[in-house]
């Protein structure tokens, strides 16, 4: 029933040899053309060759070794080629056989914390770098077409995200919260790399919502709000949805009294102009590094008996939010872990922070830690179950505000005490937890994929790739991959064969069904 209001996608301007326009017209099957697989951010695949009945027969097709740091990217798959990344690295790998086609490497200064992947437009790839450059590569051979500076790396900017292509816009975000620099999102021309628009997370003094920052100080100019992660897009409404990061100085809130818009917010922008249409702020006046950059997941489903166009986010602060994505109207706020920092929810659906849970010189014990109740690891929404899935981390830490003069940068830090994690299924209508699947001590790092084969793929904290029943959370199949999954599973079909691609540490794995089962599945 939830299928009735499926999102219809409109194409980017395609080219004959690269990413075809039609690839984004329909739910992805033979391609995975964007970071989240499609514009909705649901990470739900309509493929069902691998399914609940034959999952026990899933077997390894190939392994690709990168010999670098952990893979945190989701590969694209276009015309039988996988494109994926690590900081400074892009690989093109044969999706059928796991052989390398080309490898691009560009050593750089800057933060190498992780990398999420590339975007594609026609024959061209777009790759962000630790020194805040955007590199356009020829997808055929990995040669460089052009390199544009997004921001000055000497000021502390870098970029880890996979850009999002909408028509002739390459939408790119930036990172960097160790210095007090303004966050922004910008749109570049896919051919020339010229800036089409730039939207700053902080309004200029005097503009609407600048009153959420102190007057007579430079706080608003140094307010942070990084655009770390790939957003989502609704072609019908022509709205781009993006999450923004924490304000700066990170832990020192007293120098920036107010809500500090548009940090820690979900914003809806016009992708052609960068104009703000609406916003919602999951963490007003954040002082815990709780970026609201987790995927804004789009789906159409009944709410209070009426069909609605919804947006849901499981946010780093431990709360799950559901909004009407046409106008930002708040519908649901509910915690998805037993957070300790909020005293309630205000009339606008925002958690109310307890004053003594803000960082302090003698330490404040808080759940979740700054690493968050969830983080970059992708959530998923399965229209077959109507459930939203998240890697939920119960993390405790003690937050110290160490700065005594004018606070700058982080101005302190939290020390991690304890963490354990679970995959949780949330009823989007109420925010209630429907099932909980423990994945062990420590902070979960795996993303989630659901499929029409009635399967949920993710990983536990012990290196096991898991296939769960999305309705119940029961384990259907597993294999120990020998390392942590720090990325998100993805899937596609080539030559009538469905592939599941996952990573563990610096290895990429492909799984398929045996030949005889593929033929059975086709009947």
């Amino acid at each position: 029933m939830l299928f009735l209001w499926g999102i219809v996608f409109s194409p980017p301007a395609g080219r004959s040899q690269g990413l075809q326009e039609s690839a984004l017209l329909k739910p992805a099957t033979d391609t995975w053309p964007t970071y989240n697989g499609d514009y909705s951010g649901r990470r739900f695949s309509v493929l069902n060759q691998i399914n609940v009945k034959n999952i026990g027969s899933l077997r390894l097709a190939w392994i690709f070794q990168t010999h670098t740091q952990a893979i945190k990217s989701t590969p694209l798959e276009v015309n039988g080629i996988l494109y994926f990344t690590a900081p400074d690295h892009v690989w093109a790998v044969d999706a059928r056989f796991g052989r390398m086609i080309w490898h691009y490497q560009r050593p750089s200064e800057g933060d190498h914390i992780g990398h999420r992947g590339v975007a594609m437009y026609g024959d061209w790839l777009y790759f962000t770098t630790p020194d805040a450059q955007l590199v356009s590569l020829n997808a055929k051979d990995g040669s460089v077409r052009w390199i544009r500076e997004l921001a000055d790396p000497k000021l502390g900017y870098f970029s880890t995200m996979a850009p999002l292509v909408i028509r002739n816009h390459v939408i790119v975000g930036v990172s960097g919260d160790v210095t007090d620099i303004p966050g922004f999102l910008e749109s570049l021309d896919p051919d020339t790399g010229k800036i089409q628009w730039r939207w700053y997370v902080e309004p200029k003094p005097g503009e609407p919502r600048s009153e959420t920052w102190p007057r007579n100080s430079d706080a608003i100019r140094h307010g942070g709000g990084m655009t770390w992660m790939t957003g989502s897009y609704d072609p019908r409404l022509n709205l781009l949805y993006w999450g923004t990061g924490n304000p700066n100085p990170v832990l020192a809130g007293e120098v920036r009294p107010g809500d500090n818009l548009f940090t820690c917010s979900i914003v809806a922008l016009n992708p052609d102009t960068g104009t703000l249409v609406w916003y919602f702020q999951p963490s007003p006046h954040d002082v815990h590094d709780w970026d609201a950059v987790e995927t804004p997941v789009l789906f159409n489903a009944p709410f209070n008996g009426k069909p609605r166009e919804l947006l849901a986010q499981a946010s780093r602060n431990g709360f799950f939010f559901v909004l009407d994505r046409t106008n930002g109207e708040h519908l649901v706020t509910a915690p998805f872990i037993d957070e300790t920092w909020a005293s309630g929810i205000d009339s606008r659906g925002r958690p109310i922070a307890k004053a003594d849970y803000a960082p302090r010189p003698d330490g404040a014990l808080v759940e979740p830690a700054s690493d968050g109740a969830t983080n970059w690891m992708a959530p998923s929404f399965d229209p077959q179950t109507g459930l939203f899935y998240v890697n939920a981390r119960r993390t405790f830490s003690i937050f110290y505000l160490t700065a005594t003069g004018k606070p700058e940068g982080w101005a302190g830090r939290d020390r991690d005490l304890y963490a354990d994690s679970a995959i949780r299924a949330i009823d989007y209508r109420t925010g209630k937890i429907v099932w909980d699947h423990e994945i062990g001590k420590g902070e979960g790092t795996a993303g989630i994929l659901t499929t029409a084969g009635h399967l949920l793929f993710t990983a536990d904290n012990a290196g096991n790739l898991l296939a769960l029943d999305p309705a119940t959370g029961h384990t259907l199949w597993h294999v120990n991959l020998g390392g942590r999954m720090e990325s998100c599973p993805m899937t596609f079909e080539l030559d009538g064969r469905q592939y599941l691609i996952v990573s563990a540490q610096d290895l990429l794995f492909a799984f398929t069904l045996p030949e005889n089962l593929i033929h059975q599945s086709a009947k």
Binding site: I181, F396, T402
Partner: protein, 264 residues
């Protein structure tokens, strides 16, 4: 050699702590200790800066009437005074900054000071191991003692004359606070595995996930089992700490810490 270096490091730490604001508790020390010449240059530069520049830019360079130089593109792009020098010598009359007559050495020192300040701000996201006790000690020790022996249930496992005797002398204050809350790695879980035959195998827990359990038995050998063939009982000595994390108020944390700090 090692002792000498440590000694020098301590002196530099002390200098840094006395001289600078606590934002520099972070990593200024490691920057300053790279060479003693550099440390001296930074110290000279700070004096120069306070005397000539602090009036407008703030003594800590974070800005006052004049701009914040810690978050300045020009200073970020500067290498060894190559950009800062011209601004100091020529001033910025259109913005109200006068020119200063300074020697190259004085400019070099000011540049060294500013770069050290930026280095510290860039690494402000850390809590130093030497974070001072005075900033942590805000609680009430008698109330902490009451919590320890009462609501907290700490005395069920711990004794202030036994395992916790002199605990405050064993750990730096910042580490003691964290260990008090959750002493990671301080105690190993044990496990009892019941085989289908009814035989019990016990030992230190080595691994546990949804599918397998592994232990080290009393003889030191590693043994593992498939969880669908055995029953597993884990005994986690830190379970009470985990449970307390959800219950402790901020006052409880600081009172308990104040009490533990009395156990010198």
């Amino acid at each position: 050699m090692y002792l000498k270096t440590t000694h020098k490091f301590l002196i530099l730490c002390a200098t840094a702590i006395i001289t600078f604001t606590a934002a520099i508790f972070t990593d200024y020390n490691s920057f300053a200790q790279s060479t003693s010449g550099q440390a001296a240059a930074i110290e000279r530069g700070q004096k120069q800066f306070e005397a000539n520049c602090g009036f407008c830019h703030g003594n800590d360079a974070t800005g006052a009437r004049g701009p914040d130089l810690i978050r300045s593109k020009l200073v970020a792009d500067d290498v060894g005074g190559n950009l800062i020098g011209a601004v100091i010598r020529n001033g910025r009359p259109q913005k109200g900054m006068p020119a200063f007559t300074m020697t190259q050495e004085q400019i070099d020192d000011i540049a060294a000071f500013l770069h050290a300040r930026i280095h510290g701000a860039m690494r402000s996201g850390r809590v130093s191991d030497t974070y001072p006790l005075s900033r942590l000690l805000t609680g009430d020790a008698p109330q902490g003692k009451a919590y320890f022996n009462g609501a907290g249930g700490c005395s069920a496992c711990h004794s202030t004359t036994g395992d916790l005797a002199h605990i405050a002398s064993k750990y730096a204050p910042i580490d003691l606070e964290a260990r008090m809350l959750y002493p990671r790695g301080a105690a190993t879980s044990t496990v009892t595995v019941v085989l289908p035959s009814g035989e019990k195998v016990e030992g230190k827990l080595v691994h546990l996930d949804e599918f397998s359990v592994a232990l080290q038995d009393a003889s030191g050998w590693y043994r593992s089992f498939s969880r669908n063939q055995v029953k597993v009982q884990v005994h986690d000595p830190l379970a009470a700490h985990r449970a307390l994390l959800s219950k402790l108020s901020q006052a409880d944390v600081h009172n308990l810490f104040a009490y533990l700090e009395t156990l010198k």
